[in-house]
């Protein structure tokens, strides 16, 4: 067990690091915010088209489905760390630098997009076929049918965003390796390389609290939205 003096020494060490900790929090929120938003947008569109081009849907097209599915599988096959390295020329071209939270956000966004695309496809598949048919029989435009699909799948989609967000949070720790910064990076630099175990423990607890909070809000919202 920790004695009183050890505990207060640990708190002193953490307090001495307060600036780094605050910066790490901000960097993590930047990475999480940008990458989740971009992944929802790109991955959402990709997932919708994956679904619509699949068998028996109104854009049914084996070639399109094959191409979209192939790209998705290929991108998902990349180990995250390798994707970061492979994408560095690309991130340099877009944000001017290969390091920092913004550059890391880009890599996270791409990895998250293709992950999310499959989740969206799967959620849309669970909407009963008859609802799409009923909407078609009314003479609805394709865009309206897509809106109906998303609305019927909304609670599953919210849970998928929750999963995406938590995955990106854990990926963002690895993004520290290319100087992405953030909590994971701090935990490795101080907690591992400098043997400051209390920093490691503190950050792991903070990350756990974040995961719990994200999951709980996702569950709450999904429940509220589910009228099935």
């Amino acid at each position: 067990m920790l004695t009183g003096t050890e505990l207060s020494a640990s708190i002193d060490k953490l307090f001495a690091l307060r600036k780094e900790i605050v910066t790490a929090f901000i960097d993590t929120f930047i990475m999480l915010g940008i990458s989740t938003a971009v992944a929802i947008l790109i991955g959402g569109l990709f997932g919708i088209f994956l679904f619509l081009s699949s068998d028996r849907q109104f854009l049914q097209n084996k070639t399109l489905y094959g191409v979209l599915g192939g790209i998705t599988n290929f991108m998902r096959a990349f180990p995250f760390v390798i994707l970061m390295i492979a994408m560095s020329p690309f991130t340099k071209a877009i944000v001017g630098t290969g390091i920092g939270p913004i550059a890391a956000s880009l890599v996270l966004a791409i990895a998250g997009s293709f992950y999310f695309a499959r989740l969206v496809e799967q959620n849309l598949r669970e909407v009963p076929r008859g609802i799409i048919e009923a909407t078609e029989s009314m003479g609805a435009r394709p865009f309206t049918i897509i809106k109906v699909l998303l609305n019927e799948a909304r609670s599953g989609l919210v849970l998928s965003v929750t999963i995406l967000c938590i995955s990106l949070l854990s990926y963002s720790a690895a993004a520290g390796m290319i100087g992405g910064g953030g909590l994971g990076d701090l935990a490795i630099r101080y907690g591992y390389y400098r043997y400051q175990t209390e920093v490691m423990i503190f950050i792991v607890i903070m990350l756990s609290i974040m995961v719990i909070a994200i999951q709980a809000s996702g569950n709450w919202l999904a429940n509220r939205l589910d009228k099935r």
């Binding site: 009963p128 008859g130 609802i131 048919e133 009923a134 909407t135 078609e136 029989s137 009314m138 003479g139 609805a140 435009r141 309206t144 109906v148 609305n151 019927e152 909304r154 609670s155 939205l225 589910d226 009228k227 099935r228």
Partner: protein, 256 residues
């Protein structure tokens, strides 16, 4: 009487499961509807009846082109739907309501919003939608359920929402695909009364698919008897009896 629906030599086949091959090794095409011609009059309640696999649902779905026929014409109120562009077909569909065995209501929208949705799709004037939805819910006696979600309703209530939704844009034709097959006998009776009232009050032409003889006897003016994709005959329904004349047709209408 005018013909509201005319089917001219419509056919439909589906590609079978890959495991089934013809003798020459080519994929097998399953014929769901052999060349069929039918005329259904304005204001009529017309039944499509037969056992499973008779092609009755496919025939119904040809009428609003949920299935596109391989050949033949589908003429609704004087317009051949097979010649229409995608956007003209959408407009034509505003004139053809449809209800389903599994109701197919949008579960994340209230009863009110389910009915209002069809009006919005049909381009109904926005400021009149509220009144029209309430009028339609009044017809099916569900005004007190307007704010409920489908999951909170019984099967019979769900089907009445389906009817309200389908008739909201004042279609000339109402297609009913096994509308009572998921309902108990008492609910079936009240639903048939509801359909009969709608037919009489609004003059909408109803085409109903069913495998239940009693539904045809209680509701329909005439019924097409179908067997293995072929139209056997169109029988009159008089005094609650189906007047079948062909031997297979007579076999079909023997009460189950």
């Amino acid at each position: 009487m005018n013909d509201m629906i005319v089917l001219n030599d419509v056919t439909k086949s589906f590609l079978s499961d890959r495991s089934i091959k013809d003798k020459d090794g080519k994929p097998h095409w399953f014929t769901a509807v052999e060349p069929t011609s039918l005329s259904i009059q304005q204001g009529e309640i017309f039944g499509l009846m037969g056992y499973s696999g008779a092609g009755k649902s496919t025939l119904l779905r040809l009428i609003n082109m949920l299935e596109r026929p391989d050949s033949g014409q589908v003429i609704i109120d004087g317009t051949d739907l097979t010649t229409l562009s995608a956007s003209d077909l959408r407009v034509a569909r505003h004139n053809i309501g449809m209800i389903f065995q599994q109701f197919n209501l949008m579960s994340n929208r209230t009863v009110f919003d389910n009915v209002a949705f069809n009006l919005m799709v049909a381009g109904y004037p926005r400021r009149d939608i509220h009144q029209r939805v309430m009028d339609c819910l009044e017809i099916v006696d569900l005004t007190d359920r307007a704010g409920h979600y489908p999951a909170q309703l019984s099967g019979g209530q769900k089907q009445r929402v389906g009817i309200a939704r389908a008739i909201a844009p004042s279609p000339k034709v109402l297609l009913a695909d096994e509308p009572t097959s998921a309902l108990d006998p008492a609910t079936t009776r009240s639903l048939l009364t509801c359909l009969r009232d709608i037919n009489e009050q609004l003059g909408v032409t109803i085409v109903i698919v069913t495998h239940e003889m009693s539904v045809i006897r209680r509701l329909c003016d005439r019924a097409a008897l179908l067997h293995q994709g072929k139209l056997l005959e169109v029988a009159d329904v008089r005094d609650g009896l189906i007047q079948a004349t062909t031997p297979i047709g007579q076999g079909l209408v023997v009460e189950d």
